[in-house]
């Protein structure tokens, strides 16, 4: 999914002298499990995939909400929330802009004929089009992203910095203090 972002984040954390010490603790992991199961269900029952995907987003938002004591999770929460708005308002599928998607090396046929249960084609009728997948990102793995994805990438970067024991605090940055968070 975000393999390149994750790899770069690890590289940066490594260059900053970070090493994995211990895996951070998450609360209510079952919410994450439910969310994944719902995604799988969506893959099986294509007709009602929209409902499964919408619910899956709800559970992952809940999962982040209960883990929000860390800043990176709060950024995830915001990113996923923006994406959820786009998905919920478009019947459980993320609309994607074909004009941008054409630049990708993938087969777009399933999206166009509606067999892709995760994406749909962005049209005039799409709600909140500015929150859907509309921006072509050429590097490193080419993809079409949404504005919410931008926050998710930042969240992933921050989470990995924390994982590698070199956390960065955005709140400290904002207050003009040293960027390093306690921990």
């Amino acid at each position: 999914m975000l393999l390149d972002v994750i790899a770069i984040s690890f590289l940066i954390a490594f260059l900053r002298g970070g090493r994995i010490k211990d895996i951070p603790k998450f609360y209510r992991l079952y919410l994450l499990a439910i969310s994944i199961i719902l995604q799988v269900c969506a893959g099986i029952w294509h007709e009602i995939a929209g409902i499964f995907i919408s619910l899956s987003y709800l559970f992952i938002l809940l999962f982040f909400f209960f883990n929000k004591q860390h800043e990176d999770i709060r950024i995830f929460l915001l990113g996923w929330f923006l994406n959820a708005l786009a998905i919920w308002s478009n019947k459980g599928r993320m609309p994607i802009d074909l004009e941008q998607a054409k630049k990708l090396p993938y087969d777009l046929e399933p999206v166009i004929n509606g067999t892709n249960f995760k994406h749909s084609v962005l049209t005039e009728a799409t709600n909140l089009p500015f929150l859907t997948d509309i921006i072509y990102m050429p590097v490193i793995i080419p993809r079409v992203i949404s504005i919410g994805d931008l926050f998710i990438m930042l969240g992933a970067f921050l989470l990995i910095q924390r994982l590698m024991n070199k956390p960065i605090s955005l709140i400290h940055l904002r207050e003009g203090k040293n960027y390093a968070a306690k921990g």
Partner: protein
């Protein structure tokens, strides 16, 4: 008067909680139309990225840090119109709401206020374009409009939530941030025109300028912080030096242990009652600490004599005011305390010493100290006698209105002491007095 203040507060409440929110919502709805257009999406994306970066790149001002987001919003308005500004403001609100704190009513009011600013600036821009004002001039006007509207509206919110006067809030905001704010806004405007003319690469020199400027500001405040730390250090040193001096005066005169501390304490309380500015209050306190410093120059036999003093000995003791004055004057330190030390035994009727000053000719600090000195001398215990009861001491001060003491100040003091809770009063009166045990220890050690 009070009624009027309540009305103003209510009015502010309506503006902040309903006015800002409703205006914000209307402006938001108007802006969403522009967000639907395909051509605008790249702009929205770019400004999201800019907001994400600049929300976490603050610049310090005199008493707060401001982020560069207002400048980003401003460039959006200049380049594309209100819809980009609204988007940027919304993204920043979301970031803050998710990351830092979420308070729905305050967030609505605050965002509404910002959206209103954006809308007004955009409106002004359209008016200026209508009148064919040169874009360089109009950019400058708009930067000032943005800043002015922003602090005026902000001040309504701040003055409502913190129950402050609106106009002084505006003044305070203006005092702390104006110059840096304007520099950032104008740099934003320059960036816009450069990008229009030369493309995105023109951002590089602008970013370099901002970064360098930020560096200068940081250096400046670092220097200021260091200086402040140094001043605090010197103040602390001064304080401990003065306290040590007071202790040495009191140690010399065995009858008056802790006297200087207590006189300083009461004098400070009087200064607070008189609503003197903080630095004056501190001065009065140290005047109290040092008022008897001249006793250093008085022979121990006289100071510690048991029984009645002869007129000559009494005259000698009176000399402590002048001796203290001379000591400090020659030392060249604490010059501002000189009047307090020389004149704290003057009387309003002109029968005091050493200069027989009258009424208002006696410096204020000395008039204050005269009261606190007399009060402590009366109520504190001495080895050879018990202190006078507080009520009686106050009566004697009342008798001295207009003759020994400044009536106005003494009245305030008497009222204050009468209203003070008894246990507090007792604690202050006994403060610094030696207990029998301590005295015993002292004797055993010497």
């Amino acid at each position: 008067m009070r009624l009027k203040a309540e009305h103003t507060q209510k009015l502010k409440g309506i503006i902040v909680q309903f006015g800002f929110t409703i205006a914000g919502l209307l402006i938001l709805i108007q802006a969403t139309a522009a967000w639907q257009t395909r051509e605008h999406w790249m702009v929205l994306f770019t400004y999201t990225l800019l907001t994400l970066i600049f929300s976490f790149a603050p610049m310090r001002t005199l008493n707060s840090t401001i982020t560069l987001n207002n400048a980003v919003i401003f460039t959006g308005i200049l380049l594309y119109g209100a819809w980009v500004g609204v988007w940027t403001a919304l993204i920043e609100t979301l970031i803050i709401a998710f990351l830092v704190r979420f308070h729905l009513i305050k967030a609505l009011a605050n965002t509404g206020q910002l959206l209103l600013t954006i809308w007004l600036v955009d409106f002004m821009q359209r008016v200026l374009i209508e009148y064919h004002v040169n874009s360089m001039i109009s950019d400058m006007i708009l930067a000032v409009v943005y800043w002015l509207v922003n602090i005026v509206l902000c001040a309504i919110g701040i003055s409502y939530y913190f129950k402050l006067a609106w106009f002084s809030t505006v003044k305070n905001l203006a005092k702390g941030t104006t110059l840096i704010y304007l520099i950032l806004m104008l740099t934003g405007a320059i960036a816009v025109r450069l990008v229009e003319g030369y493309g995105l690469l023109a951002l590089l020199p602008i970013i370099a300028v901002i970064a360098a400027f930020n560096g200068v500001v940081r250096q400046y405040f670092k220097g200021l912080d260091n200086l402040k730390a140094k001043v605090d250090e010197i103040k602390a040193l001064n304080r401990s030096f003065l306290t040590a001096m007071a202790a040495s005066i009191d140690a010399k005169d065995q009858y008056t242990s802790g006297h200087s501390q207590r006189v300083a304490h009461w004098a400070k309380e009087i200064a607070v009652l008189l609503e003197l500015p903080p630095e004056k209050i501190e001065e009065v306190y140290f005047g109290g600490i040092l008022h008897d410093i001249g006793k250093i120059g008085i022979e121990d036999e006289i100071l510690n004599k048991d029984g009645k003093l002869t007129p000559e000995e009494f005259n000698r003791i009176k000399q402590h005011t002048v001796i203290g004055y001379e000591i400090l004057k020659q030392a060249g330190v604490f010059q501002n305390l000189l009047p307090a030390i020389r004149s704290h035994h003057e009387r309003i009727d002109g029968r005091g010493y050493p200069d027989r000053l009258r009424g208002e000719n006696i410096p204020l600090m000395a008039r204050i100290l005269a009261i606190s000195d007399a009060f402590d001398a009366m109520v504190s215990n001495r080895p050879y006698r018990e202190g006078v009861p507080v009520a009686e001491a106050l009566c004697r001060i009342e008798e001295g209105y207009g003759s020994q003491f400044d009536e106005e100040i003494a009245k305030l003091f008497v009222k204050y002491i009468r209203e003070l809770p008894p246990e507090k009063l007792k604690a202050y009166i006994r403060q610094g007095e030696q207990t029998e045990k301590e005295e015993f220890l002292e004797k055993a050690l010497s």
